[in-house]
């Protein structure tokens, strides 16, 4: 196994996430996709750390740890927002939330 395997896998996963974010209209699915992208980035961090010159510094895992914590906070706030949005618009469909669009 080499670093490249992991990098390509991470790129693939990131793009799957990106595709979800671009092509789905349900806000919760978009949130899924953002999570997938974040996780792909985390995989990159860990892979770089594993194949780095000086793994003892533990930069990769530490950064990933922080990223996971931030992502958890993001999911919590994101879902709370989604519920607030749902309360307002009665839907989580992104295309029907268009009050800012000029008619």
């Amino acid at each position: 196994m080499t670093l490249h395997h992991y990098l390509i896998l991470a790129a693939l996963l990131f793009c799957v996430g990106l595709m979800g974010a671009f092509t789905r209209r349900n806000a919760i699915v978009v949130l899924f996709s953002v999570e997938i992208m974040l996780n792909a980035a985390n995989l990159n961090f860990i892979a770089f750390w594993r194949y780095s010159e000086n793994p003892a510094l533990l930069h990769g895992p530490l950064f990933t740890l922080f990223a996971i914590a931030v992502a958890a906070a993001e999911v919590a706030v994101g879902l709370a927002l989604m519920i607030a949005v749902y309360r307002h618009f009665k839907t989580v469909d992104l295309e029907s939330m268009d009050t800012l669009r000029e008619e």
């Binding site: 519920i83 749902y86 309360r87 009665k90």
Partner: protein, 385 residues
């Protein structure tokens, strides 16, 4: 079916602005493990909270009253066993009392004593198994229930020795009892009665201080004194709501005036499941006192009075009631001079106590609804008749 006086707060669903929460309608029963028979509760739930509850019964309707109007007086005696199949003895007694009122038969002394003994044994059977079922509804794994059934078994054996059947005793007759108890029966009864308090001690130790039972039952299913009175609640449930009313004391039917016993009741106007549970526990001790006195004083002699060979009362009407283990059990008879009653009516305590179910369950949790139903102590044979 709503109760006559609904004083429970009118529950409004918390409609959090915008977030639509729909009510969950659950039809509990008729084949639900803890509806005590074929009884159904249509429950509307907001989360776990009961918002509305509709009791549905009649699955066990057997046309008891109409049947009785088409057969001789004596022939409905075995059918009264099947009303509240836990307490066939008290059912028999109430019916026999009503018939005896119609034709005014004297009951011999020994029969009266035996009737009291049987009725109080029945009360023990009913209360002990009710408490067992009640704790089962609270979620215990049948341990208290099986202890209760172990003791119940001993009393059932006594019933079988005396009457030939364990549950459907059919033992009372107009003017007395069907047959005398066999030899040695009184001694065996004394033994059972003397041992019963030991069991009760153990049982109280197991249940009465258990923190989980306390917190599950206190403040749950409160029935206020006013509602209890206006809904016609009787029996231990009424006494648990703070009314001191016991037909054994009020009417003093049979020979209850000869016995010294106390009636436990509560003073505060709470009437929750814990009160109903504890009142029954305490009543058992008083029943034992009555039994001890009766077994001490019982005389010899006949067991059936001079009853007419063909029971054909003159046109009259009679209502007789007893303090059944579940409440006031009454039989109302109208005779029209034929061997069959013109009108035959049962006042079933289970049914009338059940009418306040909705008021007690509203805004409680779904788990409490089961517990409250358990604490009412219904038998569907009596509710549906």
């Amino acid at each position: 079916m709503s109760s006559p006086t609904a004083t429970a707060p009118n529950y409004e669903l918390i409609q959090q602005d915008g977030l639509e929460t729909s009510l969950l309608e659950v039809s509990m029963g008729p084949h639900h493990p803890s509806t005590h028979g074929v009884f159904r509760m249509d429950v509307k739930l907001d989360g776990e909270t009961v918002v509305d509850l509709q009791p549905v019964f009649g699955y066990l309707h057997r046309n008891h009253e109409k049947l009785a109007e088409n057969m001789s007086y004596l022939a409905s005696m075995p059918f009264t066993d099947r009303l509240d199949y836990f307490n066939s003895m008290t059912n028999n007694w109430a019916y026999a009392l009503a018939a005896e009122k119609l034709v005014e038969i004297e009951v011999p002394e020994r029969a009266e004593y035996l009737r009291v003994i049987m009725a109080e044994l029945t009360r023990l059977v009913n209360h002990i198994s009710l408490v067992g079922f009640f704790i089962n509804d609270l979620g215990a794994l049948g341990t208290p229930l099986l202890y209760a059934f172990r003791e119940r078994e001993k009393i059932m054996d006594l019933f079988e020795q005396a009457s030939g059947a364990r549950m459907m005793c059919n033992y009372f007759r107009f003017g007395g009892l069907r047959n005398d108890v066999p030899e040695g029966w009184l001694d065996r009864t004394r033994e059972v009665v003397d041992r019963f308090p030991d069991f009760l001690d153990e049982y109280e130790k197991l249940l009465c201080e258990n923190e989980i039972i306390l917190s599950r039952t206190q403040g749950v299913g409160c029935l206020s004194r006013d509602l209890a009175i206006s809904a016609g609640i009787t029996g231990p449930m009424l006494r648990a709501s703070g009314v001191n009313y016991d037909i054994r004391k009020v009417d003093q039917y049979g020979i209850y005036n000869r016995f010294k016993f106390r009636v436990p009741y509560t003073d505060d106007d709470v009437g929750d499941c814990y009160d109903r549970f504890m009142i029954r526990m305490l009543e058992m001790r008083e029943s034992i006192e009555i039994l001890k006195q009766a077994l001490r004083d019982i005389p010899g002699g006949d067991i059936i009075g001079k009853a007419p060979k063909i029971f054909k009362p003159k046109p009259a009407e009679a209502y007789a009631r007893v303090e059944g283990p579940k409440g006031e059990l009454g039989f109302y008879l109208i005779a029209d001079g034929t061997p069959k009653p013109y009108r035959y009516r049962v006042r079933p305590p289970s049914l009338i106590n059940l009418t306040v179910l909705r008021d007690m369950c509203l805004s409680q949790k779904i788990a409490d609804a089961v517990v409250i139903l358990g604490s009412i102590d219904i038998v569907l044979g009596e509710v549906d008749r």
